[in-house]
């Protein structure tokens, strides 16, 4: 029960903190919170751990020279940029 209370208070504190931060102008006090919030997490960036060649021509070149088939991920907007 105590643990449940602690969890509830932690959640409430987090909500109050976020609500409070939202009401405040950007400043040295709030900057780090927002920078960390906005930065994609390691898990979100997992797709970037793959050794993507950043263009189709680079992929064709390495496919030919390294003797492996090409796997091209082609999207409206560069998959490693704004897609």
């Amino acid at each position: 029960m105590k643990r449940r209370h602690r969890l509830a208070w932690s959640l409430l504190a987090a909500v109050v903190l976020v609500a409070g931060l939202r009401a405040q102008p950007l400043s040295d006090d709030t900057f780090r919170h927002w920078a960390d919030y906005l930065r994609p997490s390691e898990a979100e960036c997992a797709f970037q751990e793959i050794d993507w060649r950043l263009s189709f021509p680079d992929g064709i070149r390495d496919s030919q020279t390294l003797g492996k088939p090409l796997l091209l991920w082609a999207m409206n907007g560069h998959p490693m940029g704004c897609t």
Partner: protein
Amino acid sequence: MIARRSVWSDDRVKALLAEFIPAADEVHSLQSGKDPAALHFQKIAEQGHYAGRTKPTNTRQGIYAAAPSGILLASMNNNRPEQVAKMLEQALAKWRSLSDDERYLPSDQLKTISQARRWERLYPQDGLAIRVNSRDLPRDNPTIKGWRADAWNQDFLWLKRDEAIALCPQSNEVGAARPWPDAIARRLARLNLVDNVRGQIPAFADEDIEHVTITSTIESIDDASVTIRIDGRSRTVKKGRWSIDGFKDMDNPTEQERGIDVELFGHAVFDRSTQRFVEFEVVAIGTRWGATQYNGRADDRDPNGIGFLLSLADDHERVPPASIWAYGW
């Protein structure tokens, strides 16, 4: 965008990818270009899942496995890792059945494809490349579910060397301030401070900028570097008729308005000897509203919080900004 989280972090897909050369690229210029690289892509794509497609759009986006010669091994446009893994296995089986003559390009053809003129050539090697991440701010009563609830995106802002240097006050006085050159502030406001959180969106036009001012102020200075504070505001608003719901209303554009109103704040460190930024971290926080055809906001057009983080791009992230065509470089 969904594939970023669902497909490429899957262990089976990652293991199979070791047998391939993975490449990522923007499809529009490949499917519509006339240069040798674009034509080679079109040869592959016209054997694939969207071959000949014109409706609802002519996009050729997707995942293609191919021999460098241009023989398609397998393709699909799918965000399910198990389906992609199956496709990769089929592709490998077909690759193994090909002779070397069938697999590879004549060397002169490879050279022509490799020499295609691409936006990457404009990468500001001695200037400044900034990564711009975007994300919705927390909401009091979140109603959006699924991947859209915690979506994020990224784009890039490139500055040539002289443009980057112009962001730092030319003074030895703490407190000295310098407004960003109008062209740079407007480039950021038009092309990067856009609601791309859930998908691509057209840039704002210059006339959509109601207000943008960004100022660098010296916080500290020594022989090696200048530390600056960056702050400012930007407000852009576009009105007109356009579609907002993907294919559903693509033939029925309606009166719309979209906008971004943000405050910017952050810090950067400028190396005095190399005349380059070695640290750069700026946050933009504020409000977005409206929707465009492919940005996943059709049911979420009311004003709500949006944030952007501007930080130094890694040297290997040489991905052209989505709207580099607007740079005039």
